[in-house]
């Protein structure tokens, strides 16, 4: 946008601090560390291994979606429909099992498939019809939530078999089972973004889509893949969520888009596209979860924490964009 057309200022200041110290992710990690210590000082239940692992458990559902969202935002896109896909997949998981009588493993596969299909629909309209991602996913935010509500008619499904609760509630080598899932997903996402042509293509699209197209990169196919992946991960998140809370309702996942986008943007991924890392998103996720938990432990009510998240989202974008402008100026 306009930042691109600005003429760089002449080189005036000498670099006294190493560049990586000024990176958004590094600064965020330092803030995170300080927050940890302060919150730990305020409440002695905060800095316990149990509490931290439990926070990891709670962050998994948002975390799983934040990874593909990082890809999407790096390309300059956005996906607001993820929360609704979580709701739709949760409902379909419960309904296909309880009402249609699918075996539960099949019901899980079915709901993951629907998640992927929902993301695919977003992707195909965004790439083929060229509807802006923001508007397309606002439309499907309504559509997918509407389907979940229409199918469920406000009834919930519960009483899943015991084994299904493993992923949501059990520990595996002392660490919550879903946290393993998230860790694997993080490592895979980081490798894909950093070390593969696919990952580099995302940055190329975000920096200059037209140039990426002219360089012969498969822009549309890559976008289609990431939106489909986003839907699939939202489906996976739905399964983990249902397993954790043991019930299925059509209002599941409402507001997830805010948490997910906040984590990604907080983690230094530019909403303008072209910039971002998985590492940043992970720190962003940790930051938000610790804020929520830390504030709750110090006696702040749940609703006030979403005020904090909103404020942090706006402020961090402000800081990031002013830093970027300065970096371009130097």
């Amino acid at each position: 946008m306009s930042a691109m057309s600005e003429i760089p200022l002449p080189h005036t200041a000498k670099r006294v601090v190493p560049w990586w110290l000024l990176r958004h992710e590094t600064m965020l990690a330092v803030i995170l560390l300080v927050a940890l210590i302060v919150l730990g000082g305020l409440n002695n239940r905060f800095l316990t291994l149990d509490n931290l692992l439990n926070q990891g458990r709670l962050t998994t559902e948002v975390g799983l979606i934040a990874l593909p969202m990082t890809f999407i935002i790096i390309t300059g896109g956005i996906d607001l429909s993820v929360g609704s896909i979580v709701g739709l997949c949760a409902i379909l998981l419960g309904y296909s099992w309880k009402i249609f009588g699918f075996p539960l493993p099949l019901a899980i596969c079915f709901s993951l498939l629907v998640g992927a299909a929902a993301g695919f629909l977003n992707g195909i309209v965004i790439t083929k019809v060229k509807v802006p991602p923001l508007i397309m996913t606002i439309a499907t935010l309504a559509l997918y939530r509407g389907l979940a509500e229409g199918i469920s008619q406000a009834r919930s499904v519960r009483g899943y078999p015991e084994w299904f609760y493993f992923i949501g509630q059990e520990n595996f080598f002392g660490v919550p089972a879903q946290l393993w899932l998230l860790l694997i997903a993080i490592v895979v996402a980081a490798i894909v973004l950093d070390r593969t042509t696919f990952g580099r293509t995302l940055y190329a699209i975000g920096n200059n889509e037209t140039a990426a197209r002219f360089s012969g990169l498969p822009v549309d196919r890559v976008k289609l893949i990431i939106y489909t992946l986003s839907g699939f991960m939202a489906g996976l998140s739905a399964c983990v969520l249902v397993s954790r809370v043991t019930t299925t309702r059509s209002d599941m996942g409402i507001g997830y888009e805010l948490d997910v986008i906040a984590a990604v943007v907080l983690g230094g991924t530019s909403i303008f596209g072209g910039v971002g890392t998985i590492w940043g998103t992970v720190v962003g996720l940790a930051m938000i979860q610790l804020l929520k938990n830390g504030l709750a432990l110090t006696g702040v009510k749940g609703d006030a924490t979403i005020v904090v998240i909103g404020t942090v989202l706006i402020l961090s974008t402000l800081v990031a964009s002013s830093l970027q402008r300065r970096r371009e100026g130097v």
Binding site: V131, F272, I314, T317
Partner: protein, 328 residues
Amino acid sequence: MTAVTITGAEADPRRRLKVLASQEALLAIAVIGLAIAVGLYNPRFLAARNLSDVLLGNAYIAVAAVGMSMVIVSGNIDISVGALIGVLATISGTLAVNGAPIVVAWLAALVAGVLVMALQGAIIAYLRIPAIVVTLGMLSILKGGLISVTGGKWITDLPDSFHLADIELFGVLPFPVFLMILATILAALWMRYSASGRAIYAVGGNAEAARLCGISQPRTIVMVFALHGFFAGAAALLYATQLRVIQSTVPPNLELTIITASVVGGVSILGGVGTVVGSTLAAVLIAEIASALVFIDVSPYWIRAVQGVLILVTVIADILRRRRMAGA
């Protein structure tokens, strides 16, 4: 989102007008056609009581959609408006209950609406943070703030004189419907004929060209958001005063319904195109559909899915139409 290349077809105002006229005519036909179709299936749908419920109870959505349409025409979006309407209704109601003069209670909603939205507009325009991030953040601040402050309590015992929505002009015309029509006409005339109104189209259509023509993009955007805040305040008053209580929870997905009205009404999501007449017709159509579902024995739980399909179809149609025009 803001920067859109202008194509030959869009540059031709007569052609653009023709397309928009067809969108509005189409909506008017849809509103009447649907009423007749549902009336044939279930005559009770056409009862005066039901039709007035549809218009009265949803006029505030049309009023809010007037402001939203301006925002979208300017190439931005606002997803905080639903939460804002909840906050403004609560502010106004709290003042009224605590003995403030009624006019002050009414004005407070309008002023607070303008202030919050102008602030958002300023952040978007001067600090160059995308509207989606700012309004998403504000959505969460307002929503969380409202519940934290009120503790989820409803406001009751509102004084009778507070109920703006009960007023009937000349003994027949309900105030909400009057306000809906007045806001639409004034906004339509202003956007069509005044320089500042035209500036919104210029900024949304091609920000660079607008700048070169001497239009200040930041100032236009702050103005648009401030106006949007004013309409949100008016909408909040209608919303707050139509029931005897004000629920301190924000009406869920209100912003979505308002955006749907704008988009279905023909406001182009790419910015630069659209009228408020279309968005008001669309708001009426959406309310009518919600009511119609009940009368044709479809569960109201499907309403949001219908809304989603409506946006999807109009948006895709809009883009395809633009492409065909650009190709022709």
